[in-house]
Every structure is written in structure tokens, then in C-alpha cells.
């Protein structure tokens, strides 16, 4: 890191090699198309290179990089919020079956239920949500981070994260209700 700060640009490749799997995992939560995912990851590394002088060396580099990553993903969501690809009601057969089994009385045991279908339904719900709500649900619920961690990553205050989390869950529940109603109509 110090070598890069000293002007040795080529050494930045080691940083890219080390952190790119984590960045790809993060970007794939926010973008579906592979070209978009690659653009997001590239943007994260370019931004981190340009702002490397703002990294405080007493803080872990990974946290600093993740903060830039979250910011880039959020900007991506805000820039693409009008291009919602999937329609909420167009469920696949597996997704419909998953919902039917989950809604059936006594169908509480999820062991036999296809997890891919569940993940796909969550993806559909998230795609319909506002950028900030989607970011909050991803960080808090899917990645299972604490409110403090989310506040540190996003730069929002702890009360703001809590308020946004409450609203995000409400929006997600509303979308799920709509999805269930559309399925049976």
C-alpha cells in the first residue's frame, strides 16, 4: 500500500488481486447483468486508487475499500432505478411453488424448499424497491451486518439507518403481499 502511495502504480495490481472476489460478491447483490457487475467492480478500484491518499493508515484497508464499494453500488442503484428489468408478477414455476408451499398451513419447514427459488424471489422484491431500501435490506438482512456496521459503511447516522430499515421492511412486506395477490388473481 505504501509503495502505491509512493507512486508505484504497478503494485496496485496486488490489491486488486486480493480484494476482487469480495468486490464481485458485493456487486452481484446489486446488479444482475455481468457487464454491469464488472463495471461496478472496476469503478470501485479506480475510485479507491484515486482516493488512496484519503485512507487513514491506522484503519483497516478493507473497511475503507468496502465503504467505497457500498457508495459505488448505491450510486449504481440510483442511476439505474428506472431500468427495472423484471415484472413482479412474472413468477417462474419454482418461485410460484415456493410461495404456495410457504403460504400453505403447516408448510413452515423450509428444509425441502428450493433455496434458489427463494433467493430469486428476494431478488425480484429487491429490484422493485427504492435504492436506499434495497441497500439497507442487503446489508442488514442478507449480509447480516449490525446497524452500527451499516452506519459506518453508508455514512448514515445510526437513527437514520434504523428508520430506513423499518421503512425498507415495510416496503418489502407490501411488495410480497402484492406478489401473493397477483399470483392468485
Amino acid at each position: 500500500m505504501l509503495a502505491v502511495l509512493g507512486g508505484d502504480v504497478a503494485r496496485f495490481e496486488e490489491i486488486v488481486l486480493r480484494y476482487q472476489p469480495r468486490m464481485f460478491a458485493m456487486a452481484r447483490r446489486y446488479a444482475r447483468r455481468e457487464d454491469e457487475v464488472q463495471d461496478i467492480v472496476q469503478e470501485i478500484f479506480i475510485k479507491s486508487f484515486q482516493r488512496l491518499n484519503t485512507w487513514r493508515q491506522d484503519a483497516p484497508f478493507e473497511h475503507w475499500l468496502m465503504r467505497i464499494g457500498v457508495r459505488v453500488c448505491y450510486d449504481f442503484l440510483r442511476g439505474h432505478q428506472r431500468n427495472k428489468e423484471s415484472v413482479l408478477s412474472d413468477l417462474t414455476e419454482d418461485e410460484s411453488r415456493w410461495l404456495e408451499r410457504a403460504e400453505a398451513p403447516g408448510g413452515g419447514d423450509s428444509d425441502g424448499i428450493d433455496g434458489d427459488a427463494a433467493k430469486s424471489i428476494v431478488g425480484r422484491l429487491l429490484e422493485q424497491m427504492s435504492p436506499s431500501n434495497r441497500l439497507i435490506i442487503n446489508l442488514l438482512e442478507i449480509e447480516d451486518k449490525s446497524v452500527k456496521e451499516v452506519a459506518a459503511l453508508t455514512g448514515w447516522s445510526v437513527p437514520l439507518v434504523k428508520v430506513r430499515a423499518f421503512r425498507a421492511r415495510a416496503e418489502m412486506k407490501k411488495l410480497l403481499q402484492k406478489l401473493s395477490l397477483d399470483k392468485f388473481l
Binding site: V9, Q20, A25, R28, I46, F49
Partner: protein
């Protein structure tokens, strides 16, 4: 239907799925190429960029200054053309009013 329960189960399932962290072949080369293509921000570049950004406001200011100056010149020209008669009338009027005022003042004079 218990929406809360269904939602909780959906999120649990989504959380349990493995994260796809595959990296395309030679992606680091693409990133490094993009980084090397970025223009280096040295002092000269920043100064030149600032100068270029100042061009448009300067042109607008110059145009405003020219327009204002031309309008002032036109107004002065009009005044000069009309001044002999105007001044005379004004003088007459002024003189009359002043005269009246003086007369009135002289009538109600305190001294």
C-alpha cells in the same frame, strides 16, 4: 397468510445461499489498464482545467460589460442631443419653481 413469517423465511433462504465471488479471467489487467488510462492530476493539469472552466463565465461577463457600456453610451448620446432644449426647459421650470419657492419663503420669512 403470515407475511412476516414468509418474508423471514425468504430472507433466511437468501442468506443461506452461497455468494458468487467468481472473477473473470484477467480482470485485474483490465482494472490496471483503466487506471493507467486515467489522466494524472498534476498542478499544471489542474491549473489548465481551471482556466478552461473559467472561459465561459469570462465570456459572459465580457459580453455583459460591453452591452452595459454600449447602453450607457447611447443614453449619454441622447442626452447630449436633447440637452439644449431640455436644459432650457428644465432651467425655466426650475427657475420658476425656485422663484416661487423663494417668493413663498420670502413671504413667510422668519427673518
Amino acid at each position: 397468510m403470515d407475511l412476516n413469517k414468509t418474508l423471514e423465511r425468504l430472507i433466511q433462504e437468501a442468506r443461506r445461499r452461497p455468494v458468487d465471488d467468481r472473477v473473470p479471467y484477467a480482470f485485474e489487467s483490465r482494472v490496471m489498464h483503466a487506471i493507467r488510462q486515467q489522466p494524472r492530476a498534476d498542478v499544471t493539469t489542474l491549473w489548465a482545467r481551471g482556466l478552461w472552466q473559467a472561459v465561459a463565465p469570462c465570456v459572459v461577463l465580457a459580453a455583459l460589460a460591453i452591452t452595459t457600456s454600449m447602453k450607457l453610451q447611447v443614453a449619454e448620446g441622447d442626452y447630449a442631443y436633447a440637452s439644449p432644449n431640455t436644459e432650457l426647459t428644465e432651467n425655466v421650470d426650475l427657475g420658476g419653481s425656485v422663484g416661487l419657492e423663494l417668493n413663498e419663503n420670502s413671504g413667510d420669512s422668519l427673518w
